[in-house]
Symmetry: C2
Subunit: 555 residues, 2 copies
């Protein structure tokens, strides 16, 4: 049977009440206890779940409805639960008093006064009230993140259109995760700072990708949530397009990663076109859609979250290397390899990147020779007849590198460095010597950028990290593998798309939050040193929406 | 002009002499100096490179030919070089005396006596003599690695056929890299022990793949070299097939990685068929060939060295996890996820692996439901109406996990664990509690294997590694990402191919080497604690091949 009572005028957030429900349900004296605010949606739910009692007709959205299910007529259960509930509410009040001093406000206007630079309202109140609060926030030119679900599609479209017209963003509804200007918003993770900006229509999608990015020792700038319906035909990707513009303008973001389920076709075309306008590489994961080509212009398609993270990290390393190197637009690439297979793979990757054909003729170890770009295998018989392999005796390569001093058309030098038993005791030395000779002959107008990959392990006699450190201290860029090295080389010789002077979104540089709903979200922000005021939202006029509308008009 | 002299009866290996050439060429008094043994091939080379002098007609393959190029008639150059050469030879002799005590032999028979269990002869003598020595080694039932190049195709085919008939392998000619039973052979790297066996027709290809494997914190069992011509039509992949059989029988090898240029079509078919007979996953990289499908039976195709290493490591982790888990052949998989996107990706990957279709209907969060296998998103509205999301309140999943105790048809449980701000303070606790309840109801005949992935970072409040450690100590397997988890799950329910009791190759368990040619190869083996004797090979009968043939017949 169901016993019930109402606790009047004590608004609590849903998570607090659900934790109380769970605790009370564990008591031996009862089967199950449901504790909810008396909102219309919750009342329907109480009916649907068999917890309804006519007592609840009297409850407003500001009152707590308590329903107790017992299998026998345990008449003392109601007193027990009443006293346990009071104690639980007292505990919450005490917890909220103690600990960190959270700025609080009972009205939005007060919150605004306490945090005048607030530029985002984080909304996790009951869904039926979320749209109205979001609208108020937009009216005051604040961005909005709606964690709540149960917001109508019409409200979502209206809010997003209104935001876009003001260069603001609405993340959500049902947006579980965002990290903006270092602020953890709702479900989020502590990820190192980096150069990858993430946009996602899925909360755990964002969380998994940024976690994998952290595992790969890279980091992020921002993670912008959209809500699961943003890329539907009806919404048309309004927030996705805003988020792309935001990250396009964000100086710290060098690589963009975009995660969603497959968008509606018309939205997909819009989003892809917007992506192509951005002078940054973009990883796109449309989860579950077939990938026909892996790369389209500046867009790299991934098929799993794991792969999206890996591609983003590859691009992040390339972009980060690029930003420290001078421009060698329209110059050529020269690869001088000692390893035959390394030369052959480098040639294949270079041909792919430049959309050129590989030749089958490898005369004199020339693996690639097109439009001035060359990849040469100096381990070819042509170079080793009568002398040790260039992995043992690096003098032939040292000489070839030095000669690039005069070949000012060559802007990028690609190299391998192979260590291990049998190989030269210090291959870095000869590379550096050749490179120093070459650049000594070059003026600052004709830079020669050297990019090396290292084959061999940390335990090899020459030690991988020591060889890498030696190369780096001579100004040679070291990449982790050939795909990274070749992508960097081709990007260096390709003139960057003209970047329009994009209008920055101030939100990405500094965030200051009004939190309405789950108090723990405010506490997480505070513990991350983000300015926050907790708006102790409760339904206006006791949740009577008609009265509330009249009161609003009187304001 | 060219000045010249002969140093009689002093055989040195080619690397030593080339290093001497280089050092002498650096002297101010000369333009360039060439120092070579008087073999027929070297004599041709001296002609071709403009270093010929008629003096050299008198030289045998056991004599050193010295040619000095000067631009003026510096008549004292010859005396200078002569004395410098003597000093260099003395230095080599001293170096060879000092340091580690290398076992040495002047005849192959002596080498055999000094190292009776020798089972591999490593040959790096001049190419024109390599085949004969290799044949002697095979006659004595020893495996062979031929580092030397310039061995004829006919010799290669004959040697490999003769080896195959005796269950021996010939690696090479022109085989630069191998690591057998922990022995670094020729150009090789120091790589952690692991469960990946590598086969390669390319030296630096092997080196790069094993280096990347080490960077990904995995390790290798063996690296078997083939030589660049093994997969040609003419040779027909004789050593490739032997190497596959060797690794198929090698207990430590759980994953095979095969690297070569695209083989001749007939050889490709033969090799692929042989791979499919092996009850182990195989990564195949045919460098430069187009990949039509990524997976064919147990073969995973890679397109770069980097990707080959990554795939091998993924499979290595899966195989290594499998070998610690009980069999759940023909049982079903149940995925209980709290993250919607994680559930959705898990469903997609599972459908791919099992060759089943995904349904579009995701009623009650059921993302996949085919042939008894299910993936459920417990974050779906169906489960969260009226209660916090299961990432906050894990009780609904705990209950669902516990119920699997009775569902004995379920053999594998897939899980996510999401941490970070907003999420439950200790999700591992609830998973472990549910899992313990489930397995308490299972008998040892009905194991329930739990496989989790963790979303979140090391810096999150709950700490990634602590959550992982908690799961692992409860007997739950933790994989790094969803593709690994799903692959492991599907392999666990798939009965293993019957492995025939394969004849092991003793070489892979214990190696003992006779080294003929470059002395440094013997030193590297010795420093790695591999039994080795250095056979101080020199051309028989002063290099007169006719006389040598007669002498051989008289034996």
């Amino acid at each position: 049977m169901i016993q019930s009572f109402i606790k009047k005028g004590s608004f609590q957030d849903s998570v607090s009440l659900m934790l109380i429900s769970k605790k009370l349900s564990n008591l031996e004296e009862v089967d199950e206890v449901s504790v909810m605010m008396g909102t219309p949606a919750n009342k329907s739910l109480l009916v649907a779940t068999g917890f309804w009692s006519d007592t609840f007709n009297q409850a407003t959205p500001n009152d707590i409805c308590v329903a107790i299910k017992t299998h026998d007529d345990a008449s003392d259960a109601i007193d027990l639960i009443r006293s346990q509930l009071e104690e639980a509410l007292k505990n919450i009040a005490q917890q909220q008093q103690g600990g960190s001093k959270l700025l609080k406000a009972r009205r939005l206007a007060t919150a605004n006064r306490k945090l005048p630079d607030a530029n985002l309202v984080l909304i996790s109140i009951a869904g039926e009230y979320a749209a109205e609060l979001a609208e108020q926030a937009l009216d005051e030119n604040k961005n909005v993140m709606i964690f709540s679900d149960n917001v109508s599609l019409e409200d979502e479209i209206r809010l997003k259109k209104s935001a876009a017209a003001k260069d603001l963003i609405v993340m959500g509804p049902d947006c579980g995760t965002a990290i903006i200007a270092g602020a953890p918003l709702a479900f989020s993770n502590v990820i190192p700072k980096g150069n990858i900006g993430v946009i996602g229509a899925s909360g755990t999608g964002i969380q998994e990708v940024i976690s994998q990015i952290a595992l790969l020792n890279q980091g992020i700038t921002q993670a912008i949530g959209l809500g699961g319906r943003d890329l539907s035909q009806a919404v048309g990707g309004i927030s996705a397009l805003t988020a792309l513009t935001m990250l396009a303008a964000d100086k710290q973001t060098q690589v963009i990663t975009f995660i969603s389920k497959p968008p509606a076709e018309s939205v997909r075309i819009k989003v892809i076109n917007a992506m192509k306008q951005i002078a940054k590489p973009i990883v796109a994961l449309f989860l579950g859609s077939r990938i026909d080509k892996r790369q389209d212009d500046n867009i790299f398609f991934a098929s799993t979250l794991d792969e999206a993270a890996r591609l983003a990290c590859l691009l992040a390393k390339v972009e980060s290397a690029m930003s420290t190197l001078p421009s060698v637009d329209h110059q050529t690439i020269m690869g001088l390899y000692t390893g035959g297979t390394l030369a052959s793979e480098a040639a294949m990757l270079l041909a792919n990147q430049l959309n050129l054909l590989l030749s089958d003729n490898h005369d004199k170890g020339i693996m690639f020779d097109q439009q001035g770009h060359k990849i040469i295998d100096l381990g070819d018989d042509f170079y080793t007849v009568g002398r040790p392999h260039s992995m043992i005796d690096p003098s032939i390569r040292e000489h070839a590198i030095a000669q690039l001093g005069e070949q000012t058309g060559v802007g990028v030098l690609l190299l391998d460095l192979v260590i291990g038993y049998g190989a030269n005791a210090n291959p870095a030395e000869s590379i550096i010597s050749g490179y120093n000779k070459a650049i000594a002959q070059r003026s600052s107008h004709h830079p020669l950028i050297a990019i090396a990959t290292v084959t061999g392990s940390e335990s090899d006699p020459q030690c991988r990290s020591k060889q890498i450190a030696a190369l780096q201290s001579a100004g040679i860029t070291v990449m982790d593998n050939l795909p990274e090295a070749i992508l960097l080389a081709t990007k260096l010789i390709t003139p960057a798309n003209k970047i329009d002077c994009l209008k920055p979104y101030p939100l990405l540089d500094h965030i200051s939050v009004i939190n309405a709903g789950l108090r723990s979200f405010a506490e997480d922000l505070q513990s991350s040193n983000i300015p926050v005021v907790h708006y102790q939202w409760a339904p206006i006029a006791g949740g009577n929406q008609k009265l509330a509308a009249i009161l609003k008009k009187l304001n």
